[in-house]
């Protein structure tokens, strides 16, 4: 499979991880065997890391979670920079995303929990007590409008006429 086709395959899967290999083969004009082989290679190389559903948890009230974005300032360490502290933070199961940022703070930590108190306790007891952490600013997420390119609560009705020239 050419590099261009491989990139196209990744883009398709990024939007729909459930699409079956025989359909992918037709879309890419490749054999199903080649498609399966390429996907296996992408998984082995950790290019494709996982296949996940984008869920609107607000529709399942009992399961709705609290999320916070925390701006963290840290002291970078000799030789390893921010990687060591990042490695420590990412291990907490409460942390759902972690990014190194440019600008006024260093790490952006996304934390999810069942209650606001739970998230607050994670910040005060686990995150801010790490010795390289200088300060934290916590922003609670109020509502999800768009996530991973998917717009929530969108009316996707096809407004076109059924048949047109």
């Amino acid at each position: 499979m050419t590099k261009d086709k491989e990139v196209e395959l990744i883009r398709i899967l990024e939007h729909n991880g459930r699409i079956e290999s025989d359909v992918l083969a037709k879309m890419l004009d490749e054999s199903e065997e080649d498609v399966k082989k390429t996907i296996q290679k992408l998984e082995d190389d950790h290019v494709i890391l996982s296949y996940a559903a984008v869920v609107d948890w607000s529709k399942i009230q009992s399961e709705e979670s609290i999320a916070a974005m925390i701006d963290v300032k840290v002291t970078p360490q000799r030789d390893v920079g921010f990687d060591e502290v990042a490695a420590r933070i990412q291990r907490f199961p409460e942390v759902s995303a972690l990014y190194l940022m440019s600008g006024t703070y260093d790490l952006s930590v996304v934390v999810e929990g069942q209650t606001m108190a739970g998230v607050a306790s994670f910040v005060s007891n686990k995150l801010s007590t790490l010795e390289t952490v200088l300060s934290t600013t916590t922003h609670f997420r109020m509502k999800k409008y768009k996530h991973d390119g998917v717009v929530f609560n969108q009316d996707e009705k096809d407004r076109r006429m059924v048949v047109s020239p």
Binding site: N16, V23, M27, L28, D29, M161, V162, V163, S164
Partner: protein, 396 residues
Amino acid sequence: MSQSPLQVSRKKRLSRTASSIEPSGIRRFFDLASTMDDCISLGVGEPDFVTPWNVREACMTSLEQGYTSYTANAGMIELRSAIARYMLDRFQVTYDPDQEVLVTVGASEAIDLAVRATIDPGDEVLIATPSFVSYQPLVTLAGAEPIPVVTDADTKFKITKERLEAAITDRSRAIMLSFPNNPTGAVMNQEELQAVADVAEAYDLLVFSDEIYAELNYDATHTAFSALEKMHDRTVLISGFSKAFAMTGWRLGFVCAPADITQAMLKIHQYSLMCAPTQAQHGALEALQNGQDTVTKMVSSYRARRNYTVHALNEAGLTCHLPGGSFYAFPSVEATGMDDETFAEKLLIEEKVAVVPGSVFGEGGVGHVRCSYATSMDALQTAMGRLDTFVNRHKK
């Protein structure tokens, strides 16, 4: 005593010209499909994308800023200049935005203007068919005679020199072309178009080249007809924003042609339309200035869906050539032994999948149906599944 109004025999109300044309054959399928609730439509001749947000936003901004008056008859000069730049950058053809570019109400108006500005009653216009449903009626409305030049599966729905020459008479004035084609998806490369250009040159014909699908070309770079040697002066190049930028409802097209023809079209346009809608022109300007990345993404998405659809159709037993452009597949329904009208009607009633019978696009379309793949992959997969069931049930 004066006659009572009741006794006056009614004068005829409709002109001979209006009476001479038929409503589009697509209408009947529209009426039928509209009554069905869970029908999957592969009958839609427009993109399934909504116009890119930056284009919609530019239009709203123009309203906020109070751009609600007429523009120049030919369209805003900024837009005409952007069109000229776009045509040069994308297709290597040079047009003077002041004299050779006209902004129209959709490519449909541009086709009408091109015919009305250059064709006299009694003239003949050679039209490659199957093709867009407007060409033949518009030629008829101009009092001229449409002469179909049939393309078919044998020629991969491309027009050939031999068939063109066979249709030429002393009254031939112009050739109407549309590649990438609606409904067949056929694309003609530079060499194939050159054969048509040679005929135009040899017989002193104009060429109306409807290139509305130019951006939706999946395996090659589009060749503008006017880019061919000696063809700039013979070509009326028609295009627009509908297909490339998903702007069908905006009704905005344009035409690029030699100055004498453009100015003649402008005269008709200024009396019948005044100018294209101002807000749409502001949106179109944004599309040309910042829309190419979105076009590239849409093209890539159509390409994958084309590949899928053509594979699925052939697997179902409906022979289908690989269409190089537009967003239509045009399979033969011969395997079922039905004619295209019957096939489309039965498929709609039995499986609730709408396709358009090829014969509504002219003689060359007989025995084929147009399947638009400008619809979601989910819908396409369901439709192809139903189609497969249908073909298996009815196979000869």
